[in-house]
């Protein structure tokens, strides 16, 4: 798609755990356990998975929003913004502040948290972006106006307070805020989950238009597979803190290899379908005490003896398609 060879973000063997030590009870929740992935330029990468699969923690780790008790135990997160490289966990706070919002921005669920509830919307723009768009205020606001118009948002939304806007409108404003500096990477954590179906469709279309125009890369986290199907170019599926399958969206839906992914896709209800759907027994494991070996083996219909003993590595089985499953890539004899 572009000439850039280096990925925008490269995550290597990342491990991030929550370690709590309260009143003599020590708990270690292995939220992200040895995850490696990369996102290329001008690409929408989706992260799918259910609750407590670790995707939100992975996103926080990539965004650098780490605070104890969440700590990075190993691995690295490296960015490349058009030649400007940065290793997130080795960089100085100044470097990180310089890239934040200018090269890396985020859109979160429930954007009430992003927009200051006691200030008007334009103030949030000033707070976030004026450091990077170092222009006098009048010119800055002009830039913001143009940006909003390009996104089909009425400029008088700037004068409103966040609570005066509807949920969908707030989310659109949050997207405008995240893109005003034209960053190379946007991280979106369940931005449409709390929205109504019709509103969600509008916001998703807006995200797609923005991405196409700015050629930003986007990491889009949601548990809703239908959203992934409509938006993302590539998809990574997480289960219990590990990445278990990754491929182009089209390939994942057409030919899922991992038993969990197949089940996930098969169990999605569709209008027009009345047949009873297959249910999967059990529940996602607790990350404080995960099963040994492959974490899916207690619920897997194709589990073998080796699955409880060794962790299946994430291997490439087809062009751009990686799977971590012994049923797909039989373990070596040795």
């Amino acid at each position: 798609m572009t000439a850039h060879a280096l990925p925008v973000v490269q995550v290597t063997n990342l491990r991030a755990y929550y370690s709590t030590h309260q009143f003599g009870v020590q708990r270690e929740v292995r939220a992200v356990d040895d995850v490696s992935l990369q996102v290329m330029h001008d690409e929408i990468y989706g992260l799918a998975g259910e609750s407590s699969c670790g995707k939100s923690t992975l996103i926080k780790t990539i965004a650098g929003a780490i605070r104890p008790p969440l700590t990075v135990q190993g691995g690295s997160v490296e960015f490349d913004f058009g030649g400007r490289r940065l290793d997130l966990y080795k960089a100085s706070p100044d470097d990180i502040a310089a890239i934040r919002w200018r090269h890396l921005s985020y859109v979160m669920q429930g954007s009430m948290g992003v927009l200051n509830p006691v200030r008007r919307v334009h103030q949030s723009f000033v707070d976030f972006a004026s450091r990077h768009i170092a222009k006098p205020k009048a010119q800055f606001l002009d830039i913001v106006h143009t940006h909003l118009e390009r996104l089909h948002l009425k400029p008088d939304v700037l004068r409103a307070y966040p609570h005066e806007l509807s949920g969908g409108m707030r989310q659109r404003v949050a997207i405008a805020l995240a893109t005003v500096c034209r960053p190379e990477l946007i991280i979106a954590d369940e931005p449409t989950t709390a929205l109504d179906v019709i509103v969600q469709r509008g916001v998703l279309d807006m995200i797609r238009d923005v991405q196409r125009e700015l050629k930003t890369s986007l990491i889009f986290v949601t548990h809703d597979m239908a959203v992934h199907a409509h938006l993302c170019h590539r998809l990574g599926v997480m289960y219990a803190g590990r990445l278990i399958e990754e491929a182009r969206t089209v390939d994942i839906f057409r030919e899922p290899h991992h038993p969990y992914t197949s089940h996930l896709i098969a169990s999605l209800p569709r209008i027009g379908q009345t047949a009873a759907l297959q249910a999967l027994a059990g529940a996602p494991p607790s990350l404080a005490d995960p099963p040994s070996g492959c974490r899916f083996h207690p619920r897997c219909p194709q589990a073998m003896a080796v699955c409880s003993q060794r962790v299946p590595p994430l291997l490439t089985v087809a062009a751009g398609h990686r799977v971590a499953c012994f049923a797909v890539t039989p373990p070596d004899a040795a």
Binding site: Q22, F23, G24, V25, A288
Partner: protein
């Protein structure tokens, strides 16, 4: 329960310090049972003697051993504080929970009552009470009056918690499981309210002891019963500070400060522990 206390002692410095301080204070209060002198007697020992063995904290101008007098004083003061706190907690829980849960007219009526009590200026009322009751005043009646004046702030606090709990879905589940209002308040809502009650209890004890000391120092209580406040009252009557009998004032003050600090430390450390969210964070597995 004991493992919980042991964990707290081991890991929480504030709790350990609070327990230490209160332990010392409690020990002193308990020692009153062993006192060789009755606290109401005077001139049983040589007066105005500085701290030295056998009178380890000195003696007063009225010929009383400071240490043994202090044991009675702190015992009475603590007792008073606990009783006031207990009665006022019960009142604020009852009114707060019912008001928050029932809503509507009941809530409005109770809160009007509540606000009336908040507005009442405490000190003038207590002084007035003393002047009206004079010789008929007893510690029990004073405790009752203070309890009646001390519930109002916390009732509102508890009411706001009760109101938010009312809208939570598990209250509905409780209702649809057949629970009556009384059952819901005591079984479902009380565990959430208790942390607040606990920390306000500590504050309340501090407040009531402080008020008692103030009143006694000024002579507005029965100053013949030994309490921390009355000790200081008598010390002032005998101009102890001017006369150089510093131990008469210093030791009661030190002990009551120790009580305050101990209770405060206990309140803040137990609060973190009892808080439902941190309890869940520790996990029950």
């Amino acid at each position: 329960m004991w493992t919980v206390l042991r964990d707290l002692l081991r890991h929480n410095r504030e709790f350990a310090a609070g327990v230490c301080l209160l332990g010392i204070v409690g020990l002193v209060a308990a020692l009153s049972a062993l006192s060789p002198y009755s606290p109401l007697d005077s001139f049983v020992v040589p007066p105005d003697m500085p701290p030295a063995w056998p009178h380890v904290l000195g003696t007063t101008s009225r010929g009383q051993d400071v240490f043994w007098l202090l044991t009675y004083a702190i015992r009475n003061t603590l007792l008073f504080g606990f009783v006031v706190a207990l009665i006022s907690r019960l009142l604020s829980l009852l009114i707060g929970l019912v008001s928050g849960y029932a809503g509507g007219l009941v809530d409005r009526a109770l809160m009007s009552l509540n606000d009336t009590f908040i507005v009442i200026p405490l000190f003038p009322i207590l002084v007035l009470f003393y002047f009206v009751m004079r010789d008929r005043m007893s510690w029990a009646s004073l405790a009752l009056v203070m309890a009646c004046l001390g519930w109002a702030y916390d009732a509102r606090l508890i009411r706001s918690v009760a109101m938010s709990l009312r809208t939570r879905e598990f209250t509905e589940t409780g209702i649809f499981s057949g629970m009556s209002m009384r059952q819901i308040l005591t079984q479902e809502h009380l565990p959430f309210v208790l942390p607040i009650v606990f920390s306000t209890t500590m504050n309340n004890i501090n407040w009531s002891i402080g008020l008692e000391v103030t009143l006694s120092v000024l002579g507005f209580t029965d100053i013949n019963t030994p309490t921390i406040g009355s000790m200081i009252y008598w010390a002032n009557q005998h101009t102890a500070m001017v006369a150089g009998i510093w131990w008469w004032v210093a030791f009661p003050v030190a002990l009551v400060v120790m009580t305050f600090v101990g209770l405060f430390l206990l309140a803040i450390s137990m609060n973190e522990f009892i808080d439902p969210r941190s309890r869940l964070g520790r996990g029950m597995q």
